[in-house]
Subunit: 216 residues, 2 copies
């Protein structure tokens, strides 16, 4: 089994991914600027499920086989840039969305390269960037009893890495990977998170995307 | 019941909306640059369902109570601009997506004002623009026996018009309206259509969005 490191893994987005990949049998390292805090969060996640989850620095998390970027969007590029050497020749999964609050809504920002995945790919020229996990409600992701049954839209310019990540996602309870295609779709996939969250605010929901009509 | 006019109603997008609103009891006028062609398509749609669907010019369709813009995105602004007077003081529903083919994918373009709905709103300063029907597979929309059960994401800066359109959508068989919020979400909602269609091309599917986790 691959080891999975999660940069910014103590935040709500990273915690759910950690919990569900650990449940599937992968060793997960939660990375944080504050390793002590990461150890505390790892302990609380271990109590919610099964599997191996430990806390560490982001640098230690970056030494895992597969690395997920789950930091706030404002710090994602700085975080990965500082770890460029450790992340070289690896698959780096971006679940980052650039969003800002505007009244009762969360709205999407469009980074200069169109998406956060493209910003991260530019910062990591020796890594292979895959996008995934954008539309998932953190509260349901962190609760293995939540009956979550979500489709995870996956994209990358690297077809091999994309399929490998999709296969790993299909091991996670409650998640089904759907490969959408290339990085050309990144901005549309990331931005749609703003719609899910705005719907959640308006309707007091934990909405997520199911793709019906897939014919199987 | 409101009369519904559909600009560019002979295309695949408009036909499904026509069929399903006619089934719900609204009189529908399919508009086209070619009124004769519109009459032929209207006749073929009447044979697929029930209700009143007639073919006419876009100008005649624009005289209905509620008007849907279902033209190709390239001609949407020119079409509505020519009908500005007829569309004044009305709710105009944009289902337009700016998409271009790129290899095996359809990718989203971002119009200067961020979305086609915003472009149409700028062209129609005296109308109220609502966005809806972006993520629906045309083939399933045009087949009342297709078991379609889709969520329709609705947005507008006008809360009254938005809720009125949502109520009308909920009358349509197989569709459930979910109000997302304001025009700030338009680009994200429109662009996500590129993801649905790219998934359809890749997976030979007719995918559409269901929002799970809505709590009801």
């Amino acid at each position: 089994m691959a080891t999975v490191g999660i940069l910014g893994g103590t935040g709500p987005a990273g915690r759910g991914v950690a919990l569900r990949w650990a449940s599937a049998g992968h060793d997960v390292v939660l990375g944080s600027r504050d390793a002590e805090r990461a150890s505390e969060v790892a302990a609380s996640l271990r109590a919610r499920g099964s599997g191996v989850i430990s806390g560490a620095t982001n640098e230690e998390a970056a030494s895992c086989d597969v690395v997920v970027v789950a930091t706030p969007w404002e710090s994602a590029v700085a975080t990965v840039s500082a770890l460029r050497a450790q992340l070289a020749d690896k698959t780096v999964i971006s679940m980052v969305n650039a969003l800002v609050r505007e009244g009762r809504e969360l709205v999407a920002l469009y980074p200069p390269r169109g998406s956060m995945a493209a910003q991260i790919a530019f910062a990591l020229p020796q890594s292979t960037v895959v996008g995934a996990f954008h539309h998932l409600p953190a509260a349901l992701m962190q609760d293995l009893d939540s009956d979550l049954d979500a489709d995870v839209v996956v994209f990358s310019d690297d077809a091999v890495a994309r399929d490998a990540v999709a296969a790993m996602i299909n091991e996670m309870p409650g998640l089904n990977a759907v490969v959408a295609g290339s990085m050309s779709l990144a901005s549309a996939i990331e931005a749609f998170t703003s719609v899910c969250i705005s719907i959640n605010i308006r309707h007091k929901a934990h909405s997520y995307v199911k793709l019906a009509g897939m014919g199987h």
